[in-house]
Amino acid sequence: MTGRARTKQRPPLLLVVPAFVGLLFFAVPLIGLLARTPWGDLPELLSSSVVVDAFRLSLLASIGATALSAVFGVPLAWVLARVEFPGRSIIRGLVLLPLVLPPVVGGAALLFALGRRGAIGEPLNELTGLVLPFSTWGVVVAATFVSMPFLIITVEGALSSLDGRHEGAAATLGATRWTVVRRITLPMIAPSLAAGLALTWARAFGEFGATITFAGNLQGRTQTLPLAVFVALESDRDTAIAISLVMVVVSLTVLVLLRNRWWRTT
């Protein structure tokens, strides 16, 4: 971004005060969590089989969802940004719907469509024997559903604002359309792509509502960290707090590292 205005003067109080209040929205819950953390018991709490299983599943599901989003979401973003077709704004709205839809609604919709008696789930089950609900694949599908829009919205934005001259020049020099995408377009949007992938991963890592509604809750198979927190809150609050802390640390680390690495330059 050019012409970034970063003032050296004292910032106006009229902005600093509300900015500070805005910051409190994020800081206060975190302080509440830290204040309740049983620091001494932390190693023991975090090495329980429930937490280890949930952590493994969360990593698997979030990375799987990010991979699926990259494979299917980037082409979709490209189509939305570059191809003119009737009803494009409706398709775009549909794709971005999971950003605003309550995840539990998404989970219920997934269950009705892909469940054992669902419109697609039933034939799928008969053809392949695959049952998505209550399986780890179901967790990946739910996480992909809620997280892929983050990648699409980021990549589509980058593609739309891309200067088309480089692609045009490459095409003039005889590059095939696929080569242009691979050698020119994708490298040029790499920072946005990386940022989008990071957001997608972070959203998938924290996914709760669609997962519990669509995939259920079973340790080692479908119980990710957020589900483990939810269940533990009702029976074992120290474990719940310990897991919450892990989620905060992991997510914050990833977001801070990636922001420093990629977003500064965009």
Binding site: R117, G118, L218
Partner: protein, 246 residues
């Protein structure tokens, strides 16, 4: 400043809407998820008789409600699906008066219509090929189900531990679960969307539902609501929904 006029219009509407709401006293009732239908009916009957009170129902798993109340969420009345959850609230010194048991319930096995898993009772819960669900432990329906399975000596092969009884029932209704252990009243409320397989009394577990006014409650409205639940009219509504009321 076209935008500014929109903001002013929005604020005006917001103020009108908030002023337009009536002067009724709001009474927050936190009730177990299994009381959903019966308490909605009781709310309607109570508000008809007490037009100055607006009952606000907060329905969730009893243990979720317990956490909310312990954390200081606004609640005037608490109706739990088991006594141990209520005891914890009492132990924390949050009850305004002693809790009273107002209803009982029993477990039943819920299966999708036509019973695709050919389930005949609790004894089928160790069949690995079935997709089976229970409420999570810590949630009353989950603790009761585990107790009932222990009585019959079955080590269940569970595919999902649901956070509350209604989400478990939803997955039985959709046919994604072959069976789940829920309350008799839930099977009744689901009408023909699920079939119920009764559990014999000797292996069943009786859930006792206590109700109490919480500390700091809107005294008149909250006490009146509890009195109504315990009255003949309240009991009649509960009985219509399948609860035992003695």
């Amino acid at each position: 400043m076209k935008n500014a006029s929109w903001i002013v219009a929005f604020l005006a509407v917001a103020v009108l809407v908030s002023c337009g709401s009536d002067e009724r006293t709001e009474v927050f009732v936190s009730a177990a998820a299994s009381l959903t239908d019966s308490f909605e009916a009781i709310e309607e009957a109570f508000e008809e008789r007490n037009p100055s009170v607006d009952i606000v129902l907060n329905l969730a798993g009893s243990s979720t409600l317990r956490e909310q109340i312990l954390a200081g969420a606004p609640a005037d009345v608490f109706a739990s699906a088991n006594e141990s959850v209520m005891d914890e609230i009492a132990g924390a010194g949050l009850l305004a008066s002693a809790a009273t048991v107002f209803a009982t319930n029993r477990l039943e096995v819920a299966v999708p219509p036509a019973n695709p898993g050919a389930i005949s009772g609790l004894g089928d819960f160790d069949r690995e090929e079935l997709v089976l669900g229970l409420c999570a432990s810590g949630v009353p329906c989950g603790d009761f189900a585990i107790e009932a399975l222990r009585i019959v000596g079955v080590d269940p092969m569970v595919d999902t531990y649901e956070p509350n009884v209604r989400s478990l029932l939803t997955k039985v209704e959709s046919g994604d679960l072959d069976a789940g252990i829920v309350y008799y009243t839930d099977v009744l409320a689901a009408h023909d969307r699920v079939e119920g397989i009764p559990i014999p009394a000797e292996t069943n577990v009786v859930a006792r539902y206590p109700i109490a006014v919480l500390q700091g409650a809107v005294d008149t409205g909250a006490a009146a609501f509890v009195a109504f639940v315990l009255s003949a009219d309240g009991r009649e509504i509960l009985a219509e929904h399948g609860f035992g009321t003695r």
